[in-house]
Amino acid sequence: MANVIDSVKYTKEHEWIKIDGDTAVEGLTDYAQSELSDIVMVELPAVGKKVKAGESVGTIEAVKAVSDLYAGLSGEIVEVNEKVVGEPALINKDAYGEGWLYKIKIDDVKEAENLLSPEQYKELIEKH
């Protein structure tokens, strides 16, 4: 069963978001990495790019499938995980840790109210 951790929030598009003050770290959930399996290429947004919640900001390519990456919150990309670009399997190995994808400086912290709680996300993936 996919691991849903309690310390982060989630989106319907299977990203996790950890908010710390006005910055958020985003990544792909354990459920998403296990569905995609063997991730081999990652395309991340450029640092400095302004993104809107729900906007496609990158691509995750696995051996058999490709998936868009959507921003969970609006803001500016302030850092991306270069290590994961070189070693995409890190997402499979440690989705909530070393496999993090990018950091956003959040425009409006209130937007986070739209995100899913761990319980809501669990419900979502159980329906699949």
């Binding site: 399996s37 063997d38 081999v40 290429m41 390519e61 058999k64 490709v66």
Partner: protein, 362 residues
Amino acid sequence: MPKKTPFYEKHVQNNGKIVEFAGFLMPIQFEGIIPEHNTVRSTVGVFDVSHMGEVEIRGSDRMKFVNYITTNDASKLELNQVQYSTMLYPDAGIVDDLLVYNLKDRILLVVNASNSDKDFAWIMENKKYDVEITNRSEEIGQLAVQGPKAEPVTQKLFDLDLSTIKFYHSVETDMKGIPVILSRTGYTGEDGFEIYLESKHAADAWEMVFSAGRDFNIKPIGLGARDTLRFEMRYCLYGNDIDKTTNPLEAGLGWIVKFDKEEFIGMDPLLEIKKRGLRRKLIGFEALTKGIPRHLQEIFAGDEKVGFVTSGTFAPSLTKGIGMGYVNSVHAAIGNKLKVMGKEPIDVEIIKGPFYKHGSRK
């Protein structure tokens, strides 16, 4: 209701991720597509290929009949030799690609799982001469032991010297008491054997193979790696690279079409196509830029759409994207550079032969 192969319980025990494929519950992967792929390239792995269909042809005219429904020349087969072939519709579209086993008292046709029922119906519909045709798909299970260490593993289970079985040859024998057809065949580009047996012996056979392979760290391999392995060898997959709308010549399968035979279904229209020249060709290409080509993406030469991708994947042995697709013949030359329209366009180059060139296949 999807069917289960006689090895289904083994896949569940081995934590296989089960999906429905061609009407069967099959493991798509165990530990992961890439590690499984690498196991087969470097040592040895085992595939459950029981979903494949088997049609048995008996009777005094069996060779004449098989030569009539297939494009390769089955009459050239030695006893126990195996041949890759196709069956065509009267318009030269492909019914299926298959293996033809010329056994002592019968010919066995091994067909794709997804086409098994259709193929059997097609063969029955075209039945002529003195032949008896039986669909044995339900009763036969099959394991493929593949990889550079396949021979030392498999040898432990047989008294006869396996080095005497040449590539694309078979033997009817027994594996520690279980009657089997053992053939040196496979879909991976590596050396290996395929073992056909009655389903009731499946559980025993699985245990035997895995205990024989223990010293080599033998592992179960899922359908995901089966696809990446075949793809790196540029073997066609029915439903993707070939189907009823494609003919064997444009698919690069001219080498298994023998026009000097007396007759086969689809022969005249195919000869006509050959004389007229091919409008399009199935090409193999490697990505020069980042990205992985995917099924049905369009292929462009400059601003002109010239074809589409039939199969695309990440090649674990080459660590880059590779693809196959049909393009207009004028754009199909080796070395030609084209663009595949992914989310971002991918530059690709047409290559010759298999993508992976270091297989242990004999």
